[in-house]
């Protein structure tokens, strides 16, 4: 047999292992998969109830265009995209939308350059929602045009004045915008001491020390500059590619303690949240139920981090021992987006992390003993996500059945990926995974609306009930493309309850509060947070599907202050403001 050497042809393995004594088996392979494997229709089981989502961008009044500033040099920020925030900046009861944007690069760009926005095309944008549900651009009035090549956004009321403030991250420095309560924001970066440095990505507001003031955790991606590096195959210029993260050194995050006087102090080393990583996504929850907030960080192409808070208020990174740092095969993956919520309603916050094609999104089920099970295979997530690359991801209950589903903004990071992997795509449709119960998920994208057939370079994603109709909507930011407003019109008779928590002893946003809602079908839990996803910030209100019940038997809230509150027979199908009691 000429040349083929009578080898076992399929000696390369993805999930398997090389047989020790056979060289042929030591060839590592590209895991695989073909995008065409599973059409959504095939993936959907008979019991899977699809959603109905409509792209309402055109009618919404939002005409946003992300400027990634692609160059021939393939500078990495070009492909990383930007985020979106859903928040009510003027307290009119309707969510507004903030979209982050880039800045121009020259081609080539000299090293050391901090790109600056050069005009309105590069502005970040704030869209105010009007009474009729459409949006108006109020960027200039608000003073939120931005400065740099911005990427991420985090929403939190850091001074507890009742108005949500904004933290915007990016390459070359970050900005804190204080909400003045009159439709304008003031850039308080300098006086607050939160400007940071390097390349920042996702940020999270969280009261780390439970002093009633939101602190700020800011991830940084890597040590990077505008060096002219050629990555990819050398077959021709069209094969030039974005460099793999392994090429660049990791860097520690920034952690700002809120001093309470408008000033923050950087305390990453003091708190032990200073392990160099390649952070892209952050989620928070009390994973070990010890009453202290923990942090989960999605790192790109290295181990994922779980910062466990110790009784003395410092943190210990324990991802490996917690079994969420790597996949079930012990392999690292390109962690990008992340979310933490309790998807199996056992009272323990679980994790989901997006990554690149051939890696499968990582679903980690919390065992309650300080460890997580890699549940990607058993949940059905593996089959669906093998060929997809995910960024923003959020748990949400799109059909109000009491089980948390999730939605993912997708697209590969390499814009010429089809040249080397014909079955992969730079632009991909959104993915909607329905929680089928018993730890299983099913892909219902194909039957949930035409919007799930549009291919985008999806990046940031945020979830929130834009029109307060009891069905959570989705907004997606795309790389060098428009932002999309996706309205949830799922036909369902299920009931719902949205809780808008207002902290008094705790931080006003109640970030970190744990809510347990019990219906006739059982209990479900939610940790209040605006973080999670990728570079984005979601509606802080806690949304629960009640299924057939028109009321919740009970609502139990564990506030960050430690105060416990219980409400009984809470009527559903409404947004209920709940104030933190005095004790």
């Amino acid at each position: 047999m000429p040349l083929s050497a009578a080898n076992p042809l399929f000696s390369r393995r993805a999930r398997g292992i090389p047989r020790a004594h056979s060289l042929a088996f030591q060839l590592l392979t590209a895991p695989l998969l073909s995008a065409l494997l599973l059409t959504p229709a095939q993936a959907q089981s008979a019991a899977a109830v699809p959603g109905k989502f409509i792209d309402t961008t055109a009618a919404s009044g939002i005409h946003f265009q992300d400027k990634a500033s692609h160059t021939s040099k393939k500078y990495l920020p070009e492909t990383m995209g930007a985020g979106v925030a859903l928040f009510d900046y003027d307290n009119d009861g309707r969510l507004d939308i903030f979209l982050v944007n880039g800045a121009p690069f020259s081609d080539p760009t000299p090293t050391g350059t901090i790109p600056q926005k050069s005009g309105p095309a590069y502005w970040n944008r704030l869209y105010h929602q009007k009474k009729d549900g459409t949006f108006e651009d109020v960027t200039e009035k608000a003073g939120l045009q931005g400065t740099n090549y911005d990427m991420g956004v985090a929403v939190g009321d850091y001074d507890n004045d009742g108005y949500e403030d904004l933290y915007v991250t990016g390459y070359g420095g970050n900005h804190l915008y204080h909400n003045n309560g009159n439709g304008t924001f003031t850039d308080v970066t300098k006086q607050s001491g939160t400007g940071g440095s390097g390349w920042s990505t996702s940020a999270a507001w969280v009261d780390l020390d439970n002093d009633g003031l939101l602190d700020l955790v800011v991830l940084r991606y890597m040590k990077w500059d505008f060096e002219d590096l050629w990555c990819g195959e050398k077959r021709g210029p069209e094969y030039r590619s974005y460099c793999h993260p392994d090429v660049f050194p990791a860097i520690a995050p920034l952690v700002y303690h809120n001093d309470g006087n408008g000033h923050f102090t950087e305390v990453s080393a003091k708190l032990g949240i200073d392990k160099p990583g390649k952070g892209l996504g952050i989620a928070l929850a009390d994973f070990d139920r010890d009453g202290r907030m923990d942090l989960a960080i999605a790192n790109d192409s290295m181990i994922e981090f779980l910062y466990h808070q110790k009784p003395n208020g410092t943190f210990e990174e324990d991802g490996l021992m917690s079994q969420m740092a790597v996949d079930g095969d012990g392999r690292t993956f390109a962690g990008m987006g992340i979310d933490a919520q309790d998807y199996d309603n056992d009272g323990l916050a679980d994790l989901v992390i997006t990554d690149l094609a051939n890696q499968r999104y990582a679903l980690f089920r919390n065992n309650g003993d300080g460890t997580f099970d890699y549940a990607t295979h058993m949940s059905g997530v593996d089959t669906v996500t093998m060929l997809h690359s995910g960024w923003g991801i959020k748990f949400f209950d799109y059909d109000n059945d009491g089980l948390k589903d999730f939605v993912v903004a997708q697209g590969h990071d390499i814009d010429n990926i089809e040249l080397t992997y014909p079955d992969l795509r730079y632009k991909e449709p959104l993915l909607l995974m329905r929680n089928m119960g018993h730890g299983r998920f099913a892909d219902v994208s194909g039957a949930s609306g035409e919007v799930f057939k549009q291919a985008w370079a999806g990046r940031g994603l945020a979830v929130g009930d834009l029109d307060n109709d009891g069905l959570e909507d989705v907004v997606v930011a795309t790389n060098d493309g428009p932002a999309y407003v996706i309205h949830n019109e799922t036909p369902t008779t299920n009931h719902w309850l949205t809780l808008d928590l207002v902290g008094h002893k705790s931080n006003r946003d109640a970030i970190g509060a744990e809510i347990k809602v019990t219906t006739s079908r059982g209990a479900q839990w939610w940790t209040v947070s605006t973080a999670g996803s990728y570079l984005s910030s979601s509606d802080k209100r806690a949304h629960f599907g009640l299924g057939a019940d028109d009321h919740a038997k009970s609502v139990e809230i564990l506030w960050p202050s430690g105060i416990r509150q219980e409400l009984s027979d809470v009527k559903g199908d409404r947004i209920l403001r709940v104030d933190e009691p005095a004790k």
């Binding site: 398997g16 047989r19 012990g330």
Partner: protein, 337 residues
């Protein structure tokens, strides 16, 4: 230039006959000398060229043989003997180059031969396999697809085509061609294993199990199939079944790094860290490049309080991952001059 086949009565014809006699007597060196003299004296003597080429091929002077055959093919492109000889010489040359570690030259020889004999299924397959091994997937696929088109029932072409499609991550195509191969060779246990492995990677676990079990039926000593079945059970958290399969593997291949790792993972899950360490220590010895083994060994050592060693294993796992990522992505890095 007009070439000709010399008349039987010419001096060249006499020499040619004498050369053939030498060939029949297996005196190849002398035959080579005589034939070389003939073509040197009479470069248009195609019969001599053809005879010389065959002698050179017999002497494993593959490059010389190719040149001689090509001299004939330039004038007589349809010569069956020259075409067959060029194919044999091209493949032999490539095999020798590859054995010497010169893949580029191997591929060049095949490409050159392919230029003269573009419709040889055998040559197209050889070219495709060589190109695939050099990660030149598009050319490999083009050659193998052409071979498959010329001879749809050629099992070797189907098998090789499936392989390159696997490398290209065209999984549907790979599956289709492997299934086509199995229609021709339904009792090939390796191919059933290969298909099972492919389906396993596609998370089509039930179909994968059927193929793997079929391979075992055909060849009960298919340890890789048992191993793969163990992996499927491990993923499904069917730990007892996984253990049974790994035991089967280790009974016949006690140094199987994958099965040892699987046993280590099972012990780790059961929180039997001493047993896990024992299995995983063997696994990293027998499969030093297997990241999974190192990672679980690191986690196990951490559980056993051996933090320094755990960190070393973890760092090693990360190094291996980065090396393998480079291979997988095929990326290179260089500053622009």
């Amino acid at each position: 230039m007009t070439l000709h086949v010399p008349a039987q009565s010419s001096p060249s014809a006499d020499s040619l006959e004498r050369a053939r006699t030498l060939v029949a007597a297996n005196q190849l060196s002398r035959a080579n000398e005589m034939l070389s003299a003939i073509v040197s004296h009479d470069p248009n003597n195609l019969a001599a060229w053809e005879e010389l080429a065959q002698v050179q091929l017999s002497q494993s002077l593959n490059d010389d043989a190719m040149k001689s055959f090509e001299t004939v093919l330039k004038e007589k492109p349809d010569s069956p003997q020259a075409r067959a000889g060029e194919v044999r010489a091209g493949i032999a040359s490539a095999l020798a180059d590859r054995a010497a570690g010169n893949s580029d030259r191997a591929l060049a020889s095949l490409a050159r031969a392919k230029g003269y004999v573009p419709d040889s299924v055998e040559l197209l397959i050889a070219f495709g396999i060589q190109a695939d091994s050099m990660q030149i997937y598009k050319d490999a696929e083009a050659a193998l697809s052409q071979a498959n088109k010329l001879d749809p029932q050629n099992a070797k072409a189907l098998y090789a085509l499936a392989h390159v499609e696997l490398d290209e991550q065209k999984m549907n195509d790979a599956e289709a061609h492997l299934r086509a191969y199995l229609k021709i060779k339904p009792d090939d246990p390796s191919a059933h294993y290969g298909l099972g492995h492919l389906l396993y990677m596609l998370s089509k676990d039930d179909e994968a199990k059927a193929e793997l079990e079929r391979s075992i039926t055909l060849q009960p000593r298919q340890t890789e199939s048992y191993y793969e079945l163990g992996q499927i059970a491990l993923d499904a958290h069917n730990d007892a079944l996984a253990r049974q399969y790994y035991d089967r593997v280790l009974a016949s291949a006690p140094d199987h790094g994958g099965a040892l790792t699987g046993m280590g993972v099972l012990a780790y899950r059961a929180k039997d860290y001493a047993a896990a360490a024992s299995y995983l220590k063997q696994a990293v010895t027998y499969a030093p490049d297997y990241v999974t083994a190192h990672r679980y060994y690191a986690m196990t050592l951490g559980r056993l309080g051996q933090q320094d060693q755990a960190q070393r294993e973890s760092a090693l796992a990360q190094e291996l991952t980065e090396e393998q990522e480079k291979l997988r992505h095929g990326y290179t890095l260089r500053p622009i001059p």
